[in-house]
Amino acid sequence: MTDFEPVLLANIQNPESHTLRAYEATGGYATLRHVLQDWSPEQVVDEVKASALRGRGGAGFPCGLKWSFIPKGNPGPVYLCVNADESEPGTFSNRVLMEQDPHQVLEGTILAGYATGASVAYIYLRYEYPQCLKRLQAAMDACYEAGLLGQDILGSRYSLDIIIHRGAAAYICGEETGLIESLEGKRAWPRIKPPFPAVEGLFHQPTVVNNVETLACVRHICERGAGWFRSMGTPPDPDIPHDIGSLGPKLYCLSGHIERPGCYEAPLGIPCRELIDGYGGGVWHGRRAKAVVPGGISTGLLSADELDCPLDFESPIRYGCLGLGTAAVVVMDETASMIDFLHNSCRFFSHESCGQCTPCREGTAWSLAILNRIKAGHGRIKDLDLLLEIGDSIGIIPGTTICGLADGAAWPIKNAIRKFRGEFEEYIKKTNPGGWDVQEPVPALTFVGSH
């Protein structure tokens, strides 16, 4: 793996990397020219299918397959939504791409638009990324001027407009149907699926939602071919039906108690420990890791003896986590409190639940209330079972909620308590010596929320 050469981040050291000139100097838009001239849209879909590219936004759905669900011969427009809402705690790789190499994202977007027949692409950009807004807008202006966007791109008769749509600080707008509702001017309440967006999405039209990094990958797949993309990563597991493996380069976000936080590119499947030590310079202050979030807070926790876990789409599941998520690795050293971790996580999800599903709205709120109680020194051992009951009963997987936010809220609870139960019990016994083994229900209204 030492001979791995970054592709997505290849040019970000260049201070001019965000300009059209610098981008074209490294071969930028040559692929687009070639594809628009020589390939049919189907060929782009086929190449991306053959690459086994899986979505980088968190769900890991095969990208080419998703594109192929767009109905053929749809009378109305097809929309492409670029998901740049990036709000999963720990995640910042889309920011790096949009700030440092916006043309790479735009070229991927135009290619994806061509493949799916979209005439308008909306970039749903989280509000807190003003620098991305500036860089993207400048890059788009340059594209319009150079005939790379707008009517009849490069004389190909393919036309595409890109419009940036800013969010307003709500995590749920990253969920693809929440994003669509938000774009339509409504509250970002995720929709029940089916119908999937590819059939009926934005403004009731067929819609593809893709993550920023996914689209950046598309550019390189069209340039270097599916075979190149498949040459790195974890091959399909024959024991998992329909597994297409975890292939290609991936951006990993490394933060928390780490010497060198940052966004690093590596082949999918790099072991967690190698990422931490090899790229991040190890746990800070020469300390040891206690727990590591493998892919954004929704994915749960790896304990210190689980750091051999390869960071691909399937492996974290084998270690009892939700999955790879956004590949945002957050390191916690031996001084970190798992009670604080879980409190932080529960507060986040309670704050961000959109509130339309009862198990999610109530489950996230109650888990926070229980964590508040534990932190205030009134915890009971029974609370841990109560938390697990919440964790095991909310989410798409048990089928009680509409979107994946509730699953994301559940995994930190399940992992923290199952993998670190001793610490929770000790804390509760120490802070609530008189009441830790109380079994009767506690009056609900005596505890108020955390903010």
């Binding site: 427009p77 990036e86 709000s87 999963e88 705690p89 720990g90 995640t91 910042f92 889309n94 920011r95 989280r126 509000y127 807190e128 990324y129 003003p130 620098q131 419009i163 749509h165 800013r166 969010g167 307003a168 600080a169 709500a170 995590y171 938000s182 774009l183 339509e184 001017g185 409504k186 509250r187 970002a188 403004f203 976000c253 490394l254 933060s255 928390g256 108690h257 936080p261 940052g262 966004c263 979030v293 807070i297 945002a328 957050v330 916690m332 970190a336 604080d340 971790f341 932080n344 996580s345 507060r347 986040f348 704050h351 961000e352 959109c354 903010h451």
Partner: protein
């Protein structure tokens, strides 16, 4: 409605209308419109909601519904000239984000979510700002302040 009683100036209205060609429905302009109004007024009072609704051919309740979903927009008083969002999510918390928030609030004499009585400064707790590589961090209006320490907080507050 005579223009003297309007909240939305001609300038604001023109900026909102410039979004119309970007979307097939006027309702889709709700968020852009709220952002425009918020940028000029630093809040979206109820009267503004009604006027936005008229522009977008919606019921005021529809605009109000959308607006209140995004807690970003204030309706009871303008936010301060300076709006600070202090990240409290995991990566920042692990590197002292909570202490930064506490220190800031103590300096300003307000609690998270509040605005100083002179209307200059609003301090809010925020969820992950997507800059965890620079934890702990703060957004001050459109500016990201990276790797904050109490010393940097002191300096930043002096510069306000």
């Amino acid at each position: 409605m005579s223009s003297s009683h309007r909240i939305l100036t001609d300038e604001i209205i023109a900026e909102i209308k410039a979004y119309f060609p970007h979307y097939p429905t006027k309702q889709a302009v709700t968020l852009p419109a709220l952002h425009v109004v918020n940028r000029y007024l630093r809040w979206v009072p109820p009267e503004a909601v009604v006027e936005i609704a008229q522009l977008l051919e919606l019921a005021p309740a529809q605009v109000q519904d959308t607006m209140t979903f995004y807690r970003f927009f204030k309706q009871h008083e303008p936010h301060g000239l300076t709006r600070m969002s202090v990240c409290r999510s995991l990566s920042c918390a692990l590197r002292g984000g909570d202490q930064i928030l506490e220190h800031l609030c103590q300096k300003a004499g307000i609690r998270p979510g509040e605005t100083t009585p002179d209307g200059t400064l609003t301090i809010e707790a925020a969820e992950c700002l997507g800059a965890c590589d620079f934890a702990p961090c703060i957004m001050v209006n459109d500016q990201l302040h990276k790797e904050m320490t109490t010393e940097k907080v002191e300096k930043m507050m002096e510069g306000l």
